[in-house]
Symmetry: C2
Subunit: 500 residues, 2 copies
Amino acid sequence: MQEKLDQLKGILAVVSDLHGATALLGWDQQCYMPPGGVTARGNQIGTLSSLAHSKFVSEEVGSLLEELKPYGESLDPESDDACLIEITHRDYQKAVKVPSEYVAEYSRITVVAHGAWEEARAKDDFPHFQPHLEKIVEMRRQYAEFFAPFDHVYDPLLDDFEPGMTTAEVQQIFTEMRPKQVELIKAIAEKPQVDDSFLHLHYEDQKQWDFGEEAITKFGYDWNRGRQDKAAHPFTTNFGLGDVRITTRVDENFLNTALFGTLHEAGHAIYEQGIDGALDRTPLGGGASLAIHESQSRMYENLLGRSYDFWVHFYPQLQDRFKIQLGNVDLDTFYKGINKVEPSLVRVEADEATYNLHIMLRMELEIALMEGVLEVKDLPAAWNDRMQDYLGVVPSSDADGVLQDVHWSAGILGYFPTYALGNLVSNQLWDKINQDIPQLSAQIQKGDFAELLAWLRENVHRHGSKFKPQVLVNRIVGSKIAPEPYIKYLNDKFGAIYEL
Amino acid sequence: MQEKLDQLKGILAVVSDLHGATALLGWDQQCYMPPGGVTARGNQIGTLSSLAHSKFVSEEVGSLLEELKPYGESLDPESDDACLIEITHRDYQKAVKVPSEYVAEYSRITVVAHGAWEEARAKDDFPHFQPHLEKIVEMRRQYAEFFAPFDHVYDPLLDDFEPGMTTAEVQQIFTEMRPKQVELIKAIAEKPQVDDSFLHLHYEDQKQWDFGEEAITKFGYDWNRGRQDKAAHPFTTNFGLGDVRITTRVDENFLNTALFGTLHEAGHAIYEQGIDGALDRTPLGGGASLAIHESQSRMYENLLGRSYDFWVHFYPQLQDRFKIQLGNVDLDTFYKGINKVEPSLVRVEADEATYNLHIMLRMELEIALMEGVLEVKDLPAAWNDRMQDYLGVVPSSDADGVLQDVHWSAGILGYFPTYALGNLVSNQLWDKINQDIPQLSAQIQKGDFAELLAWLRENVHRHGSKFKPQVLVNRIVGSKIAPEPYIKYLNDKFGAIYEL
């Protein structure tokens, strides 16, 4: 059996190499590629993706997995090999259910849809995008049917990003959370607003860059196995666990953009840098799910980066760099400024208190589209109604409303919930970490993140995607993904800031 | 037949995509990759190269080529399709003669040899490298045997880099050239040396960079389809004809390094940017050979970059940037300084008058090794003897002598001659260009390179590798590769500078 397993691992290693090379093609496209490279780049990514896909869904992999399955079940279920066989078998079963003609056709229509979306957004012209989104919804329903029977038509979509998670589970969580978040925002709106005008002064690019890099160096980001570059839309990517790169963008007239962007991406990257090297070049050498990934990025961005403790250590250094802008702003004022709550139209600029409501709105609309109870033509109105209900603001144009996100144009449905789930998980972990490391707050105030990192390495990072997200969370905190810790965190934090 | 041809082109496009992705993996490795990425990068390059190779040597390609061969011969022999079928057939015949076990083994031993060479060079310890080079020579002899019968055991090696060129042809050229170059150097040595001390002052990195980029912009380097980055060992690479990138290194204490490096690489890149877009994603979408490639890089580096005409236009701009260093250096002095002739130990730093002698020495030693008349253990002594004969200087250590170049450690034999041949071709073309564009000298003095570029596009660039190098040169100048124009150029140029 060891020989069969080695044979399987050999094929998976080739697939992993192709994914790694594809990721580099993508990184370069977003960071350095000149405009003239775009056609060739599309061909290269297409060729490599298609080779990786056909290597993976080959009959050879199928029969190796069939032979190995009983062997895997005979092993310690937490062993690398048992998990490898189980997860690969699961991925394989999913992959072979989708005909390659469907994959090619979906890829084709989303390329066109993306172009139409760009134009529609630029011209604030939803009807121009509408037929493309209709086709996408239709094909996503078709996609779900490949996995019939299912409890809910949205389940197969969600499962692609959050393995094992069901629509019902997420709906239950969101239903519990929504009124509490809406209530909190209303309470804040009745209080005097905090001042954040000092964040909108001119902050020199290079100094912002350097500060961000120093902060994440303290977090434990390993520059020997990574680097940071500029990109219009920040992301983290890896080409193997020894090369995990982050990107950010800098706005010289708003301090938050690069600062929290870098901390966020570093959270993703430190996760991947911490995955056990033995899992490299296998399907287990990535994060457990998007929600678990987001729990790490949001932890570094928010639970650390927007905490008072963090700035006790870092604020004097930041002030020192930006004497003119921050010399007369005290720590308390700065802390409140970076935590200003203000319902706004755009998700990616939303604060912690309002962010999840943007997500719920999107998931509800996606589900309604998939169920067929909402038609695409009625989507803008439905969007605006919910914005009014949840956030009390309504976009004056679809460009700032229903057309703001790239996801649907790229054919990605079922992804949004993972952002909100990541926030929840980050707080569940955070409570447990503070139990296990009672002196954590004092350590952070001294800029010492070593014990925190060691905890994350041991409990989260090293496992890669060996465990499904709910299993992993349960292993660590003894319960499934749940909203209470996050709600409590929001109420405590913003209750103090806004004196509720 | 059109259907068969399309089928073939489809496979070749996939092979080309894999080569493009592999090139990006290499570019990134040399420009940006963090140290931790090296293992994964090796795996990725290995996987993609091996996939490209196996796609290309597949039986499908073989039988398509067999079927298409008569069709190709029925077409206009200068048409893209006729050339594609012919060149691909030729490459395929060569590729299938080499067993894949040999390829894998050679790749393995050269990786080890490269490590041993690095150590040997650092410690000036040739015996440490010796057994590795012995193995490489042995395997190169084996390689040649795959192509038996041959006129000379060195022919199959040379053919990999200079298709259709024979050892006898090159030897004849070099034999004619050698005494004339040796004689010129001796004559120069008897004259007072020119001053180039001003080139060794401190020149700010960014200003050097900007000047180089402005110069190659004037040459016609298309930034929409390229970019320049820093690398320890400058090179040009492409990922399709719409994305041709150059790299350079900057020495703040020597003006020549970045300046002539950028001009040189721009010559390579402008060549590839000028290849007919219809040849992209086919085996014809590259340079005709290494010598033809080098003819373009040496033309931009030397025939333009080290010419008096060029500096009539550019010197005032350079002086303006570096007032302290060059404010008191007049154009004549500057021109002589950048053309200083001085026999030296290291090929990559050699001037135009001595460069080819470094190459001849290497080719002669390679041939002697391949013929078996020289043993690897006697190589250092043979190196030093020839250095004395040709250049009148002898290295005090093997690190500055026989161990200086990376090529042998990487298993590359038969490559060196192309550098010298490139010099010859550049001058054959230059004479023809000056016949066709009598006002060229005046144009260059005005910084106008448009007509030159148009000539190169029409006569050289657009053809890609449709024609073998000797065929291409003959099409343009009406004779094969020959040394006379180069010898005349050297005698005229250095005769004037050194008042011979």
